[in-house]
Symmetry: C2
Subunit: 709 residues, 2 copies
């Protein structure tokens, strides 16, 4: 496959559809390329002109005498395929198609897009678009602004991809406003070829790119995204704004796990497992890019606030604590050193309030002292300019003071707009500056969570010995029979094969006596009616628990028969299950639901009302490592119940972690299972007494036209 | 008391400490007053000059020949008291003291502030400050800019009070940036006299004020604030940024309710009960002021989004749904009318996506059609300017289209900064404009919640017949004995007097037989050890439940004696309680903890692990109305458990609501109770079977130097 270098580092560009008409995309695009100073040859292509912008214009790409690496196409939608065909013939390496009127408009547009796809397959060139606003690369060896946006992308280390062309301008505006610069900008449009994954990979290998920002509306291939981003995020932060959060998941599912897993849960789980930072808004993303741009990562989460005013420092403290940062404790030595030069009225505890009289010197000296304190990982400067104190001078001293220390410093400057422009331009080491304490702290907290991700062990996927390879056949047989729920004995065999402690269970067909089955299971036991169409058994009187001897078993059986007859379901009863009664313990739920796009979603939560009413659950996509399992158990709100409250004994939490990993192995081995619930699993302090009380497994219907067995 | 008019509508002002020296507060202040065009007489006062800024300067306020309404004082801290004394002698009505160096610096400063307080008492003038940045009033009849901020307050309908002087400039900047204007600005400083409550009252009565904004660090008198703001918010929105959210509450309390009620819970409860809109940041406040400024309140929460681009419309939809707004369903007629002129590719469902080709006419016509749909309460315009379409023209058509309709219209404009400045100035009816979908939607949602507050019934405080006036004596007696927990029988008498269904209970001193007491209570019953220092009874084996007959009672008693002896606490046992055993049901907790500043905080939540682990609880300050009680029950996450899940019967929820109101009456009648817990209260479907199973009441220690009985 041709490398994306042909698109991002072309030696020559053809602008097909270039025109001297002002106010057209073809004109603006050419202007942008010229104005940004492209390091290479530029060939306008348009049969109607001999020259455009004083540059010789060619009637078609085929008539250009030199080789062409990149063609940017802005012709009418009807002509795009024809032009692309010529590009193929010419041997062009990359196409950026700005023209709209393809899949996004439906109907004829879909056909037009299919033609492009075919041409891509035939010639092998790479395509960005169609229906996009272009690309840029600020590499000094390239200097390509191939967009029709009315502003320049600047020069910086943020690579940005947007799925919405319309947001492109807003993004470039936001970047410009914060004095950030962009290394690459790509509006991917309809993504007939190049998508987010390709860009992640390409940018991951480009040393000019320090931070990646993605605006996503959908995922191309979640598994590839997972694989790529897990590696990349360990050394480069990836920030995502993903919209479509509340779109009601269309999955029609009958299992608990399925009902509880909304579309966005998969996205959230995936991004978290990949160390991708998810933000809600573009504004938040820009605040975060600013924070990452000018600072090293912190070594820890202990923040010290240095201020000349109480109010905003309180706001910053509030925000820091609620975002999960720690307020640093300054050492006595630090306080003594600060006290030596700060006025008596100053507060030497964190937040260090130097009071309104503090000028550039106080800021510079205090910052140095604080940065030398080993108990401080991060410093947040708050500066409200009083009269006669010049923000420039204060920030100059701050920039000087921090240069010797490899610790992140951020600033909240509550001043006129012009300073946000001027200060970063004048002082290279000026800290990232924010207008409000809350936005600064939110960015700091995100950076800190990213640091935790980088420090987190990668974890391993454990493989447990599977006891019974024949369970594959069970699933296969069910699928051949049209799919659907496995009968309880098969559920137990599948779960048992993966080491789950299922309750001992015997099946007795209707009409036969239950005594011998009861002997095998032992007391106490549970009696359950069994029949394909019998649901809500409990409501029908079809479940009787805690049967302690033969006599009560006989009575229970008689009562249940009566119940089922009274409920009018006797004809649908096939038989009865006699099941071992689990010891009391904490009930949890483990489950899996198959997402068409994201693959299996694993769920863990507390059982009973915790899962049903409070939705106290958590999800993961595959693969699930030991570290993931460890974190899952601890991130539900009711986790303290497992540790034991009110004198309760701690249950075997490690058993839960292992079970999550066993479940991951099961769903990985048996991909035709589409839903699985173990609800409840009773967890006790003693691993030997833990039991899966009830399990449900649903198998997919046979696929049409498939070779899979 | 002198009215605040002397401060806000003075006919003459003395600036004491006026000086021609540039770069001083005394100079900037005088410049600001002159530049804003004060409608009245201005007298500089300074013994060192004969004139300042070409205006005759007086050596002291006493030498001014005319009456002086307002003195703004910027002299050295040591001179403030002397100058204030002269103001009193002169008969000045109001003082604004900018000078710092008072209570905020401690030590001598506290004494200096006390002097000012004494002078205020002697002369009765009103004071703002000291240690503040001044006041403003943009009323055309007044035109007073009595601040030393480097920018003008503009003219508008927002009255703003800040407790932090340092934030004053940031606030004025933020207001200016959004083209908002201010009616009044007050930096209250140390609040020796005028505080937030006075300003709320004053502004509540000023028809020029449409919205009030407060930046608070602490509450003066929460009860007065409650009273005032409850009335005002019904016709004028009050928006508060309250900092100090995470300050660890210093209350040392042993009750559940006390431990669960952090400092901020009181603030949150109070603000919500008063209809005050609490926001997290100044930015959010400004977005909200903008939203309120240019629009009527909506009639409902159904939003329609009108856009020319998919991406930002998805972001807006996401935000709207997660903020609790409803996406409006457009009528067929509306869709037909839109379809008649919009291109085929447009999406006529909400969000209405007119695609990128939409220009001013499409925006104008579509907006008119949508505003005429009765199913739409609010319209959010999203406009991403494509090439050749001028944002001004689009917003002009939008402004024209909305004029005929009394429905709120908001806009997200993703364009260069200059348009945010220019459009509102050119078109009076331009909608409030935001840069990002999320900030627009957040503001819309806040306005919608405010509308719900205005429509919410005020509710009534119910008074129940109290059965036993002598309970006052019980509390009094305990207080005289040094305060502390009431014994169980007294708890039952107090609760019983207020109509709570306490469990039947008999006390048996150690050594006496339990048989006759058991007869009075009846089976099943609970046996509990009783002794002042015996806590964690259950752990010691001091609680045995579900005793069903005389024989098991005898056995239980023997076993408990053994347990208590084995635990080594036998000597501390005073006797035994025999208590009626409650029927099974849902356990809830009702409680109260006394906040020194906010008064009683009432709590409701689900009992057991729900309260302990999940903190699924809610609080109210007094007074608590029937509407409050109704809302409290419904706002806990586990409310569905009370309605009945998995076939459970609905419990008597109205009984809980009544109990909350009874509790409110109890704590109102018996103010010396500092903590009260009913945990658990068992609630069943049948009101007659509901029971308070365990109650604790703590009485305050006697107050020193008090006449209260």
């Amino acid at each position: 496959m041709i490398t994306l270098d042909k698109i991002f580092k072309p030696k020559s560009i053809a602008v097909i559809g270039a025109t001297p008409k002002r106010g057209t995309i073809g004109h603006q695009l050419l202007q942008n390329i010229l104005h940004f100073g492209f390091n290479g040859m530029l060939f306008p292509v348009n049969p109607n002109y001999q020259y455009v912008n004083s540059i010789k214009c060619y009637p078609s790409v085929l008539s250009i005498p030199d080789p062409v690496d990149l063609a940017i196409i802005v012709v009418r939608k009807e002509l795009v395929a024809h032009v692309a065909d010529q590009c193929g013939e010419k041997g062009v390496g990359g196409l950026v198609i700005l023209s709209a009127g393809f899949k996004e408009v439906g109907g004829e547009g879909i056909k037009r897009e299919e033609e492009i796809v075919q041409l891509q397959k035939r010639y092998g060139f790479r395509i960005i678009g169609p229906n996009c606003m272009g690309i840029s690369n600020s590499d000094p060896n390239v200097r390509l602004n191939g967009t029709f946006a009315p502003m320049e992308p600047g020069d910086g280390s943020l690579a940005f991809m947007t799925q919405s062309g319309a947001l492109g301008v807003a993004i470039l505006l936001a970047v410009q406003k914060r004095n950030l610069g962009i290394s690459h900008f790509v509006s991917v449009g309809n993504k007939v070829d190049v998508g987010g994954d390709d860009l992640l990979e390409y940018w991951g290998n480009d040393p000019r790119v320090r931070v990646m920002g993605l605006y996503l509306e959908s995922f191309g291939d979640p598994r590839r995204f997972t694989e790529l981003s897990k590696k990349i995020t360990r050394h480069k932060p990836v920030i995502v704004v993903k919209s479509g959060r509340t779109a009601a998941g269309s999955r029609a599912a009958s299992s608990h796990t399925g009902q509880l897993a909304g579309l966005d849960i998969a996205v959230d789980a995936l991004l978290r497992q990949c160390g991708v930072i998810r933000v809600s808004t573009l504004e938040e993303m820009m605040d975060l890019v600013l924070a990452l741009n000018k600072n090293p990562l912190p070594k820890g989460g202990r923040v010290c606030i240095l201020t000349n005013a109480g109010g905003p420092a309180i706001m910053a403290t509030d925000a820091a604590v609620s975002e999960g940062l720690t307020m640093a404790s300054l050492s006595d030595a630090t306080c003594d050193r600060l006290g030596a030069f700060l006025p008596e009225e100053a507060s030497l505890n964190n937040p260090v309030d130097m009071i309104a009289s503090a000028g550039p010197d106080e800021y510079g000296k205090s910052l140095e002292v604080i940065l030398e304190d080993d108990g401080v990982d991060i410093v947040l400067i708050v500066f409200v300019p009083p009269m006669l104190v010049e923000p420039r001078e204060v920030m100059k001293k701050v920039a000087e003071a921090r240069i010797k220390h490899n610790k992140p410093v951020y600033a909240v400057l509550m001043a006129e707009d012009r300073y946000y422009d001027e200060i970063p331009r004048r002082f290279d080491n000026a800290p990232p500056m924010y207008r409000f304490p809350e936005s600064a702290v939110r960015a700091i907290a995100s950076v800190n969570r990213y640091r935790q991700w980088c420090e987190r062990p990668t974890g391993t996927v454990t493989t447990f010995a599977s006891g019974d390879a024949s369970v594959e056949n069970i699933v296969h047989r069910q699928q051949q029979a049209g799919g659907g729920y496995l009968p309880p004995w098969d559920v137990n065999r599948v779960l048992g094969a993966y080491g789950f402690p299922v309750c001992k269970c015997e099946y007795v067909p209707k009409g036969e006596g239950v005594a011998s089955a009861a002997e095998k299971v032992g007391f106490p036991m549970v009696l359950k009616a069994q029949g394909k169409d019998i649901i809500h058994k409990s409501d029908l009187g079809g479940v009787i628990v805690d049967i302690r001897n033969k006599k009560t078993l006989r009575e229970a059986k008689a009562k249940m028969d009566k119940n089922l007859k009274a409920a009018g379901v006797w004809d649908r009863v096939d038989g009865f299950l006699i099941q071992e009664m689990a010891k009391p313990g904490k009930e949890v739920i483990l489950g899996m639901t198959m997402d068409e796009k994201f693959g299996p979603l694993l769920m863990f939560g507390m059982g009973g009302t915790y899962v049903e009413v409070l939705k106290d659950i958590t999800f993961r996509v595959m693969p699930v490592t030991d570290v993931d399992a460890h974190e899952m158990v601890r991130e539900i709100r009711s986790y303290p119940l497992l540790e034991g409250v009110r004198g309760d004994e701690r249950v075997d939490i490690e058993f839960i972690e292992e079970s999550i990993q066993r479940l991951a192995q099961l769903v990985n081995d048996l991909p035709d299972i589409t839903e699985l619930d173990m609800n409840p699993v009773v967890i006790t302090p003693d691993r030997a007494k833990c039991r899966v009380v009830d399990g449900r497994i649903r198998v997919a219907a046979p696929k049409a036209n498939t070779n899979e067995s």
